[in-house]
Symmetry: C2
Subunit: 454 residues, 2 copies
Amino acid sequence: MKDIPYKIYLEENELPECWYDLRADMKNKPAPLLNSKTHEPMTREELSKVFCDELIEQELNETKAFIKIPKEIRDFYKMYRPSPLVRAYCLEEKLKTPAKIYYKFEGNNTSGSHKLNSAIAQAYYAKKQGLKGVTTETGAGQWGTALSMACSYFGLDCRVYMVKLSFEQKPFRREVMRTYGASVTPSPSPDTNVGRQILTAHPGTTGSLGCAISEAVEAATSMDGYRYVLGSTLNHVLLHQSIIGLETKAALDKYDVTPDVIIGCAGGGSNLGGLIAPFMREKIRGEKDYKIVAVEPASCPSLTRGKFAYDYCDTGMICPLAKMYTLGSNFIPSPNHAGGLRYHGMNPILSQLRADGLLEAVSVEQTSVFAAAEEFARVEGILPAPESSHAIRAAIDEAVKCRETGEEKTIVFGLTGTGYFDMFAYEKFHDGKMTDFIPTDAEIAEAQKLLPTV
Amino acid sequence: MKDIPYKIYLEENELPECWYDLRADMKNKPAPLLNSKTHEPMTREELSKVFCDELIEQELNETKAFIKIPKEIRDFYKMYRPSPLVRAYCLEEKLKTPAKIYYKFEGNNTSGSHKLNSAIAQAYYAKKQGLKGVTTETGAGQWGTALSMACSYFGLDCRVYMVKLSFEQKPFRREVMRTYGASVTPSPSPDTNVGRQILTAHPGTTGSLGCAISEAVEAATSMDGYRYVLGSTLNHVLLHQSIIGLETKAALDKYDVTPDVIIGCAGGGSNLGGLIAPFMREKIRGEKDYKIVAVEPASCPSLTRGKFAYDYCDTGMICPLAKMYTLGSNFIPSPNHAGGLRYHGMNPILSQLRADGLLEAVSVEQTSVFAAAEEFARVEGILPAPESSHAIRAAIDEAVKCRETGEEKTIVFGLTGTGYFDMFAYEKFHDGKMTDFIPTDAEIAEAQKLLPTV
């Protein structure tokens, strides 16, 4: 067996030429999006008022396994991809585990996360369609940053509605977006009907992601030449993120390494879906058997405690219905610093895989996640994002089990991003002021009362 | 000629095995450090009260060109090195220049800069000497972060005196250091004699780098098993940073590229000295002729407007005297966000090279630096640190000149770090509230009045 370096870098000419769409190989396809009023499958025409045409094609695709990555997008990818697959030698030594741990690191770009993989694709298709610009919402700010970078590259106008609380608490994120020429509006804002309504009804509110989505959609549909874009949850976003898994598999193949366990954190599901795509393909086709694990926060446990049913994708109930694991669209996660994982539902592909028993799921508590983050940072030299640290927690737990059983498992996890803009959360942890939140069964049942009957 | 990828990565086994000390090839050696009271050359014994033994040997070396990098340090380097040499295709296209631009990017590690290259070496030698810990000061926070990471890796205690103004304005930097287990004390503090004196004399002061140095030195010399370490300016720091230049040259050689111009920003000089080392070697030995340029802020122009003379290294005048280009040890740079470049003097090796006509120097103004930073970020996808952006400014200026003359020069510059913790400065720039400061000749002459007579 070849000596494995600390970091496995693919050559630029080994950058995948196609994205991979898992749906083509799934026996049970994910259920279609439904119009929230008629409960009929969403048509291209309905979707085209909100989304870019090519992205709709990708969203509705079920049969085409490999979709060519346009040259313009590959050129941009070359600025920060292929991303390294890192062998966590120092973590292994620290844990005294016989397990072999690898992580795919997506944080080495200015957006600080994997979000850029889809942002550049979405901006490209918007530009190709001749649009002037796009709108979106951002909570923690990673998606907004990624989209700003992508739009700046293609000369598109980018309007970001940022949850007012984040806008005020994360001025640095805001300034990064401004550096890339985006306009950043605190939400709710007086610029949209929905924003004005909310401001009148709740003066002094600090906003919510649901409200920011509604404002971004209204802005896109009321301006000529604009569409709305989204950073997770949707199937076409998973498609773009398959680049993560394809590179991971190519890097492992190069060294004849076959993983036993593949672990990713899951909020809307884009990173997880991307990371596992080519491995799940082999699993579905019966070529290999991998243990594939989604890790979610115990405070927002859609896959581990949610119901598999049609539900609204947004709290405002204006978006289509999706069949997914859901805690109920009016489930309000308790305050939780892993902003990117605070979503009541889960991408439909991943939900179907979970329902079919192909995907395992665990939930972990916040303080144990930050303990894992710190342990990892000290030996591996990378300060991880809170979201990514959910995967670190699960990977460490798995490696510690190997220490006890003596098994030499190969563990691969996704390190989606860096935590440079999350130091308030780290500060809370250092000061012993961080607590764990776990919703009760009654709270979840209450939030699921509004599930639509389909 | 081979196709040149966006990023040239060396393999891990191509990581340099030795650092290179430029002094071995210099015809005029830099003048020795002098005891600030006796004006006699500093002895090993005098230095050993403050610094680690092995680092003193490296500081005083003048003859050994190549110094083996210990395995433990190389293992750590492998976590983030070799760092990429990037071909700035997008910037070239944006500038419509026939010039070919490359940059060596040192920001892809959690400290966010090249400082980690020396921090890990200094921590290693401290550990090897059996010390319990080290003390240091930090202004902008990059050096403190790097040292915290390095000490955490080797299990050394790390005590950082952080200028109180930064401590309060940059809570995120502070939390990163705490994540790595360092103790961070706002300076001036009541923990040291010098801190107490300053607090009594100037109640409510927000501190200064000079004061933080004095506190860190006092703390190191008054505790058993501690030494003081420094992140720039000293010759042994340049030695460790030679890894930057050695990798750069190896990557260029791989593609048969010979640069015409090599550009680095200069504060204390560690990044510049490291980047240029192997190129300057060839220039001194008459094997190649490169244009080698130091870029400094117009607000703190030691190389372009300073005097080449013996001067104190610190405002407190407790450190040894060094022969260097200096604005005077009591020169107070006007408020300037490029924190790492606000030093009144310059490393003695670089000063001697400048005096010998081997090193050119230019100064650039802050607003034009931020304009270059933003232009670069938008096309190259990396948000640069303000310090690094001085080099970007000069590189862009050089490339624009090529557009005018039609020359196809090859330009290499050092991109020392990222600006994620500098968004206050970017905000000022975006809001049009940033101004330029240029000291008058009279102000510089006044500050140089206290130059010692040696």
